[in-house]
């Protein structure tokens, strides 16, 4: 790379490390918000907490334009096929944060119409506990996911490791 003063410098890296670095710093979340957690998610993206500081403020409601699904709120059996379909519509690589006790385990709704954890039907990378989690907790979850992306530890990497080896 040529610098403005005429000198040159070089940065060597592996392609997949480079890709991971890019991916982790430009997460576009799709908030699948259904309940109380969605209200806290709104707090996280608004001015006071400002998720933009971590490069994840471009909230998109279209699965085609996003790579991070944040399941915020209780998922019921009636809603489950919708979540699954929207997850399927997202392009690879894609990540999932399960926000709150309900999305993680069904929470205190051990009941006839509530999915007991969204990982019953989609792979989850980060579980954020809390009912609802504080904004700090969700931001911690996003940072954790960034770390996992950088280290190649996400569900996406687990299922697609061979592809990454060839690009290295």
């Amino acid at each position: 790379m040529r610098q403005p003063d005429g000198s040159s410098s070089l940065l060597t890296t592996r392609v997949d490390a480079m890709l991971r670095w890019v991916r982790k710093n430009s997460l576009w979340p799709l908030p699948f918000g259904t309940a109380c957690c969605a209200i806290e998610f709104m707090s996280v993206v608004s001015a006071h907490y400002d998720l933009a500081r971590f490069g994840a403020e471009v909230v998109r409601f279209s699965p085609r334009q996003s790579d991070l699904m944040i399941v915020a709120g209780t998922i019921t059996d009636k809603m489950a096929p919708v979540v699954k379909r929207i997850y399927d519509q997202m392009a690879e690589p894609k990540y999932v944060i399960s926000m709150g006790a309900c999305a993680c385990t069904g929470g205190f709704y051990r009941a006839y119409h509530v999915v007991q954890g969204v990982d019953e039907f989609i792979p989850v990378d980060v579980y954020v506990p809390g009912c609802p989690p504080t904004p700090e907790a969700l931001m911690h979850g996003v940072l954790k996911l960034q770390e996992m992306i950088q280290n190649g530890e996400t569900q996406h990497d687990r299922f697609n490791h061979r592809e990454l080896d060839t690009t290295a």
Binding site: A35, F61, D77, K78, R110, Y112, H113
Partner: protein, 569 residues
């Protein structure tokens, strides 16, 4: 207070004399002030019609219809109607026994349109069919669900999986329209995952060109079984569940529930607890209106206001967190008072908020109230007449925007609301703009109430000293035998609420939030039916939509403030 109740009860007409002869099998005065009528199924419509049409009774507002299951009784089910009169100060509870093998009822839809979704819910939860109902199908549970979840013999954990998306498609949506312009006609699906539906609502509309000609709503995508869960928990343990009904103003729900149980126990929270409840409830109301207006304005393209409204919300959250430990779902109210006293800087924090909030309300007011774009998109959009609003069972800001000055805080004061001076804002046009104006003004009125409450904040305990209800102080438990026994009994057995039923209602952020509670005298609620204000409001939505365009549909939806947690429970 007691004097005024007896005074009004002497003026109250004796319903048994005004209703058709022999139709009412028993008539009594409930402990909650309702006239309780037991009516035979065959004469039900006669009685309901008389309640609505006799000028002395004039019951124009059908609040709630619910079922109760008594497996050991014959007949097994009871369908309970809650009916109120806006003009007179009286309320009725009509009970109709229904047998299991012949669980059919006449539909009250022809008398009050509000019966629509409430009857569907009773059908879904208990399997009671309503003859003459226009669209009787499941409402909260999904298409692959078997059985009726609120029957006592239904296992709370029994799930039925909806494996593929067999989502509801109304019959009219698949038919080809017969008219000549059918090429212009199409069916459009909105939701359940759609940014403008704020959660989990689904609306199917038929468009003729760009105009909506028919619409139908599907709800239940957030049905998380509040009522069944409350039957499996102790009385005090229900409070965290109530927080998650209307999660934008969770304090109001918890207080409403605590008041309902206190009514059944015949106790009252100490004055300090009542004042703190009022302050935090009114702050919650401000937060709720701020979310509603902020989100409504975002949908209309005015994003700035969303940030303006979220800033004071964060400050209110700070106060709630310092009181209760939770930001959004506070679980701060308890039966008999509050969980613990407010922090020492409570008064200073509230006064800070009283200074801080008006600035943001004024900013939005300046940006929006005379804004031409907003007014063009909201004036004359989604007009609901006062008569229609009452017929649909509307309450709260939406009803007041249509010109009916009904506010539970004024009409049936509770928690000392009669000591505070405040106005009930009313608009007359009943459109989206009117609903915006009413909510803006209500935020200012709430601030007035908070100002008076904090100026006169009494001292003293925040929880009742009745040891059948509240735990004795910890230092006494360690030093006194009797307190230790009370502590043990209360932890071991829970609160014992005397057998009976009561309907208690408060002014939630969206309207009348009612709890109909049945107790069988044990440590668990036998049945809790929530009367969610959104439920009645949202059932009118498809009817309002006809003749509007899709962007108008979004504007109207935002102005109704439908909170899925409360709608689907």
């Amino acid at each position: 207070m007691t004097a005024s109740i007896t005074e009004s009860s002497t003026r109250r007409p004796d319903p048994a004399k005004l209703l058709p002869d022999g139709a009412v099998t028993s008539s009594e005065r409930g402990a909650d002030g309702h006239s309780v009528l037991t009516v035979d199924r065959s004469r039900l419509l006669e009685v309901l019609r008389a309640l609505k049409e006799r000028p002395e009774l004039d019951c124009d507002l059908l609040l709630d219809i619910c079922g109760v299951d008594y497996p050991r009784r014959d007949p097994r089910f009871e369908v309970v109607y809650h009916i109120a009169s806006l003009a007179h100060d009286h309320r009725f509870r009509v009970k109709v026994p229904v047998a299991e093998d012949d669980a059919t009822m006449p539909s009250a839809y022809s008398i009050w349109k509000a019966a629509d979704w409430f009857e569907r819910e009773a059908y879904d939860m208990f399997g009671i069919t309503f003859e003459g109902h226009p669209n009787l199908r499941r409402i909260l549970t999904h298409e692959a669900f078997h059985g009726h979840a609120l029957r006592k013999d239904y296992d709370p954990g029994q799930r039925w999986l909806l494996t593929e998306d067999k989502s509801m498609v109304p019959a009219w949506a698949t038919e080809d329209p017969a008219d000549e312009d059918h090429l212009e006609s199409q069916v459009l699906n909105l939701g359940p995952s759609h940014p403008a539906t704020h959660g989990t609502l689904r609306i199917v509309v038929r468009l003729q060109g760009e105009t909506i000609t028919k619409a139908e709503c599907e709800i239940g995508y957030l049905h998380r079984c509040f009522e069944k869960m409350s039957e499996t928990h102790g009385w005090q343990q229900v409070i965290p569940y109530t927080d998650r009904l209307n999660y934008c103003s969770s304090m109001i729900n918890g207080v409403g529930y605590a008041l309902a149980v206190e009514k059944m126990l015949g106790i009252e929270a100490p004055p300090r607890a009542q004042a703190v409840r009022v302050i935090l409830s009114e702050l919650s109301r401000i937060m709720d209106h701020a979310v509603c207006l902020g989100a409504n304005l975002v949908d209309l393209g005015a994003l700035t206001n969303f940030w303006y409204f979220f800033q004071p919300r964060e400050e209110i959250y700070g106060l709630l967190e310092s009181c209760a430990g939770g930001r959004l779902t506070v679980s701060y109210a308890r039966i008999g008072g509050l969980v613990h006293d407010v922090p020492s800087d409570f008064e200073a924090q509230v006064r800070y908020l009283l200074d801080y909030i008006p600035k943001f309300v004024n900013d939005v007011e300046k940006l929006i109230t005379t804004n031409k774009v907003f007014r063009d998109r909201s004036e004359g959009i989604g007009v609901v007449s006062a008569a229609d609003a009452v017929a649909w069972g509307w309450t709260g800001p939406c009803l007041r925007a249509s010109g009916v000055p009904y506010d539970v805080r004024k009409a049936h004061p509770y928690m000392g609301y009669d000591q505070y001076e405040f106005d009930v804002p009313v608009a007359s046009t009943g459109d989206t703009y009117a609903r915006y104006l009413v909510r803006m003004e209500e935020m200012r009125q709430s601030l007035r109430i908070i100002q008076q409450a904090i100026d006169a904040l009494p001292g003293g305990p925040v929880v009742t000293d009745n040891h059948h209800v509240a735990l004795p102080p910890k230092e006494k438990v360690y030093t006194e035998m009797e307190s230790l026994i009370w502590h043990f009994k209360l932890i071991y057995e829970g609160i014992q609420v005397p057998a009976g039923d009561a309907y208690s209602f408060t002014e939630g952020a969206n309207g009348e939030l009612g709890y109909y509670i049945v107790s069988d005298g044990t440590g668990h609620p036998y049945r809790i039916k929530v009367r969610p204000p959104c439920f009645a409001i949202f059932q009118a939505y498809p009817h309002i939509l006809e003749g509007h365009m899709v962007p108008d549909a979004i504007a109207i939806l935002g102005s109704l403030n439908i909170i899925a947690g409360e709608l689907d429970r």
